[in-house]
C-alpha cells in the first residue's frame, strides 16, 4: 500500500499557482525526497498532505485516510517538522517534549519518560534542562524533528530539515532520519540539497512550477541522463580546442569553466570510451591534464530538470 498518494493536487494563492496538478505516490516504509527550486511548490505539497492546507483541486491520502475529509485521522498517524524550528524558545528542551507528550495523551508520567528517552536517544540529554533559546540552530532543529516523533508516526513530513545547518548537525539529522526509515516510518522530506536526497532517499521527485517533472530512484535519474565528460587542460588556451573535440560526442555544447581550465559536457551513455576520447584530444594537440567520464551528479540532474522546462519525462526506477 502507498503511505502517501496524491493525484492532481492544485493550489493557487491569488495569482500564484503553487501547485499545478501534482501527482505523488510514496510506498509504505520508503523515504521520498521532494526536490525543487524555491517556489516550486514543495512546501505547499507538504502542507496539504499534513492537513494544514486544502487543495483547490485534486485528492490526497496519507496512511489510507483522505486528507480533506478525515484530517483528524491523518493527524493521528503523521509527524511534521515544518520549515521553521517550531520549538518554544522560552521552555527547556525537556519541557518542550513534555508538553507535546501531554498533548499526545501520554499522561504526565508517560510524557516525562518519553521526553527523557528521546533526549537520551538523540544526544540532547546534556542540554535538556537549558532554555532552548540558548541552544544552537542545529540542536533546535533536532529538537523540532524529535518533537514530531513523540508518538511514533506512520508517516513523517520534514520540510527542509537541514536548511541552514552546519555539516555536523546535518549529519545528526541524517542519522535520525536513517534510524526512523530503518524502523519502517515512511518519510517525505523536501530539500534543496541534492547530496541529502541522494543519500537518504529511495525515491526522488523533482518538482518545478507545481508539478512533477521527473521521478525515480537516485541511480535511475542519473542513468537517464547518460554520462558526463570532464576535461581539464594544462593551458587555458587549449580549452577551445578541447571543446571542439568533445562536442562531437556531446548532446549539447560543453560548458566551459575558464577559471578552472575545465569543461564539462553531457554525453549519451556509451557515446565514447575514455581511451578513445584521450586519443582524440591528443590528436587535436590538446595537453589534457585530467579526463574523466562519470555519472552525472544529482545537481546536474536537478539543473537539467528544473532549468529546462522542455524536459518532461518519466524515469522508471
Amino acid at each position: 500500500m502507498a503511505a502517501i498518494e496524491a493525484a492532481g493536487l492544485t493550489k493557487a494563492f491569488g495569482s500564484v499557482q503553487a501547485l499545478d496538478g501534482l501527482d505523488l505516490e510514496v510506498p509504505d516504509g520508503s523515504v521520498c525526497g521532494l526536490l525543487g527550486p524555491n517556489g516550486a511548490g514543495k512546501t505547499t505539497a507538504v502542507r496539504i498532505l499534513a492537513t494544514l492546507a486544502r487543495p483547490d483541486v485534486g485528492t490526497a491520502s496519507v496512511g489510507g485516510h483522505d486528507v480533506v475529509r478525515y484530517p483528524q485521522r491523518v493527524r493521528s498517524v503523521i509527524g511534521l517538522a515544518g520549515q521553521h524550528a517550531a520549538v518554544d524558545e522560552d521552555l527547556t528542551g525537556r519541557e518542550n517534549l513534555f508538553i507535546l507528550g501531554l498533548m499526545h495523551h501520554l499522561g504526565r508520567r508517560g510524557a516525562r519518560a518519553r521526553a527523557a528517552g528521546l533526549l537520551d536517544q538523540f544526544g540532547l540529554a546534556d542540554a535538556a534542562d537549558r532554555l532552548v533559546k540558548t541552544w544552537s540552530g542545529g540542536m533546535r532543529r533536532r529538537l523540532d524533528v524529535i518533537g514530531s516523533l513523540i508518538v511514533t508516526p506512520l508517516v513523517l513530513f520534514l520540510d527542509e530539515p537541514t536548511t541552514g545547518l552546519d555539516p555536523r548537525s546535518r549529519a545528526d539529522i541524517w542519522a535520525t532520519i536513517g534510524t526512523l526509515a530503518a524502523e519502517g516510518t515512511t518519510v517525505l522530506l523536501t530539500t534543496q540539497y541534492l547530496e541529502e536526497a541522494d543519500r537518504l532517499c529511495d525515491q526522488i521527485v523533482i518538482v518545478d512550477s507545481g508539478r512533477v517533472t521527473t521521478h525515480g530512484s537516485p541511480g535511475a535519474l542519473k542513468d537517464a541522463l547518460g554520462s558526463r565528460v570532464d576535461v581539464t587542460v594544462a593551458d587555458g588556451a587549449d580549452l577551445t580546442a578541447a571543446s571542439a573535440v568533445v562536442v562531437r560526442f556531446a548532446q549539447r555544447p560543453p560548458s566551459l569553466e575558464p577559471s578552472e581550465n575545465r569543461l564539462t559536457a553531457a554525453i549519451a551513455a556509451g557515446a565514447v570510451t575514455l581511451p578513445e576520447l584521450v586519443r582524440e584530444l591528443d590528436a587535436a594537440g590538446v595537453a589534457a591534464q585530467d579526463v574523466s567520464i562519470r555519472r552525472p551528479t544529482l545537481d546536474e540532474v536537478f539543473l537539467d530538470h528544473t532549468g529546462e522546462r522542455a524536459i518532461e519525462r518519466e524515469v522508471v526506477a
Binding site: 494544514l52 517550531a86 521552555l91 498533548m103 495523551h105 501520554l106 518533537g147
Partner: protein, 269 residues
Amino acid sequence: MTTVSATSARTPARSAVVDGLAAAERLLTKLRHDPAAISMTVGAPVVMVLIFGYIFGSAITAPGGNYRAYLIPGLYATIAANILPSMVAVARDNSRGVVDRFRSMPITRAAVPTGQALATALYGLISFVLMGLCGLAVGWRIHNGPADAAAALGLLVLFQFAMIWVGIYLGLVIGKEETAAQSSILIFPITMLSNVFVPTAGMPAWLRAIADWNPISAVAAAVRHLFGNPVGPTNGAWPLEHPVIACLAWTALLLIIFVPLGTARYARR
C-alpha cells in the same frame, strides 16, 4: 528506537480537557521562566499607579475629591482590556510554526486557544491582586461588602477572558510577532478614550459619546460602583447608568463574536 503510541482513548470531551490543560501548562511554564514578564507584571501596576495617580492626579480634580480612589478601578479596567499579551503570544507562535505544529496534531481544535486563554486569565488575576495592593498603599479602599468586591473581581476576570479571545483572534490574523507588538500604539488611545483616567463629562460631545460607549468605560464604571468608589457623572449615557449590565453585555458580545472567530481561525487551513 522504542515505539510509543497514545495510551488513553480519545473521547472528544476528555481530549478537549487534556489538550486544553496541556496548552495552559505550556504558557504557564513559559511565564515561569521569563523573569522579565514577571517583573513587568509586578512593575507595571506600580508604575501606572505612580505616573497616573501622582503626576496626573496632582492636576486633576476628581469626583469625590480623591483622584486615586477614582483612578485605581480605571486601571483595573485597563489591565482587563489589555489584549497585547495574548495577541503577541499567539502571533509569535504563529510566526514560529508552533501553531502549525499544533494544527498537524490530533488535538481538539478549540482546546489550544482555550487553554491559552485560561492561562493568560490566571496570570491576569495576579496583576489584579498586585494592582489592588498598590491601590491600597496609595489610599484606594473597598467600601462595599466582600460580595460586591468578589463581584467586581468576577466582572474583571470575565471581561479580561473575553478580551484575551480578541487578542487571540487578532494575533492569528496579524501573524507576526513584531507587527502585533507594534500595534500597542493603536491600542493605547482606545484605553485613553474612556472614563478610565478622567470623567467623560468634560469632553466635547462627540468624543464623550464615544468614550461613554467604550466597553472599557463600562468596566471601569461597574468596578467603581461595586467597590463603592467615586463613579463620576454618567451624562445620561445608558452604559454608565447601568454599568454592571453593560459590562456583562459587552463581555457576552465579545465572547459570542471572538470565541468562534478565534477557534475557526486556529483551525483554518
